[in-house]
Symmetry: C2
């Protein structure tokens, strides 16, 4: 007989809601995804859909629930104010916001960003602090972590707390340029040679608007195969990000930990390695579960 | 009585066709715009629309015609091969391609671009060489010119010829990011303070994907007014372009000549001035007419 579930844990983002029930050791008992991302909800709808759909589907009526991500934004269930950096798991545990019937939302993080603007995250903080809970060796000293995605996060960790971070909207740039610009590409075939050519074209990460145009010019003015354009564009954008973004956190790191989707992390690992930076990849889902359990299991 | 027209001159681009009849001194006799940009035409349609609509509207039946721009691309009337840099007005005059009944198309230019990719232009070369015909003082020595637009061109001119250029797709980045990304903005109100804040946020032009996110973070994580976001984004993109692109042509220039739309050139002038680079603005339409006349008036 499976261990009894003691917690309902949800990573509730912009496009999807991923839910797990967890046992007393934080291991998943059941898991289900819901197309209930906050961008798909009407105002005020989150609470009702959660009680009517998520709890019953996971047989989690009555369990304490812990939620992280955009559910705490103005599009979600209730606005949960950002917590300020530096922040570790204990800092966030003290700032959960109770909503509905026995549910709590994890605050996002805010820090001083570049050019005097603040920077923000909602959801990644739970993964990152969960990953730190899983990896005691990363809780001492100074580490740079990258969480790739639509809005990639570059994070400076010092003694187990998130000190500072920078968001790079590389994934979104790739999406809008390959869907809506003159760089439109048909198939996103995976062409390693074209990806590597993009990494080279990224140079030192400056003059991106000029480097982007090479995606088109190499086809219309040269003899590059347009089938490789999506991979080239991906290499160019990730290469430019890797070349210049970590320096915004301070010095260029010797090693970067990658946390997130395995296929996307592999692209970053390739770019980092080529730039002479060691990289190791860690699973984002396991980290999310660990973070939600660490936060939700406290009374 | 007005001087008789001797030439039909057309700047035939992606979205529009601008046509003038010119007298024996190159002065406009009549002018009309047509919604016949090559992106709006069916394959093979250019010749027929030109004879049936453009010539009659300008009373230009029988006149020699000179056409520049995307009309010479695979979307236009006929593919006219690119001419290679370096190229001056005499070089282009020797490479016109005859089409239809007494019409000639100016070739675009190609040069070695960045990262081993070629770079290309179609249409701007005629404006730039026309501008050189208008300004004898710019025909000696070395000059850097910028032609802002959807695909801005940074051009190195040496002794009256275009030696090399780099395309920066800044205008297109602005359009797709402000229409299709999380940086969507409602009104493109003209907010000088926000534009200047964007120039500062552009830094040295590196890590653009990270700097772009400040457009959103300054609103959701700070207290910036979202009404200024379009101007901020414009300042950020133009600032990043100005900071890093001219170096791709060689050394950072002390002066840049701006050629094109007056309002857009003014934004670039503001960015260049702030970066310590002197800038002077010149009218793109007058330059196009001068270039088409110089090329079309030769037999």
């Amino acid at each position: 007989m499976a261990d009894a579930a003691v917690l309902l844990a949800c990573d509730w983002g912009t496009t999807n809601l991923r839910a797990w029930t967890l046992d007393g050791q934080g291991a998943p008992v059941a898991q289900q995804d819901f197309p209930l991302g906050v961008s798909r909800l009407a105002p005020g709808e989150a609470a009702q859909r959660f009680e009517a759909e998520v709890r019953p589907a996971l047989n989690a009526q009555g369990l304490p629930a812990i939620l992280c991500g955009m559910v705490g934004s103005n599009l979600g269930w209730q606005v949960v104010p950002y917590a300020d950096c530096p922040a570790g798991i204990e800092d966030l545990a003290g700032k959960l916001t109770s909503v509905g019937d026995n549910a709590r939302i994890v605050p996002g993080l805010r820090c001083e960003g570049i050019a005097g603007a603040p920077d923000v995250m909602r959801g990644e903080e739970t993964q990152i602090l969960g990953w730190l809970a899983q990896h005691p060796d990363r809780r001492a000293g100074r580490h740079v972590l990258c969480h790739p995605g639509t809005h990639a996060k570059w994070v400076l960790i010092q003694d187990g707390r998130i000190v500072r971070f920078v968001t790079a909207m590389t994934g979104e740039l790739f999406a809008v340029m390959s869907q809506h610009s003159v760089l439109r590409t048909d198939a996103a075939s995976d062409d390693e040679a074209a990806f590597d050519a993009g990494l080279v074209a990224a140079g030192s990460g400056d003059a991106l608007a000029a480097r982007l145009f090479t995606t088109r010019a190499r086809v219309v003015g040269g003899d590059a195969d347009p089938k490789g354009s999506a991979s080239y564009l991906s290499g160019l954008l990730i290469g430019a990000e890797v070349a210049a973004t970590p320096q915004l956190l301070g010095a260029r790191p010797e090693r970067v930990d990658l946390l997130g989707d395995a296929a996307l992390c592999e692209r970053y690992r390739r770019a980092l390695t080529r730039a002479g930076i060691a990289a190791e990849t860690f699973d984002g889902e396991a980290a999310a579960i660990a973070g939600l359990f660490a936060l939700g299991a406290k009374p």
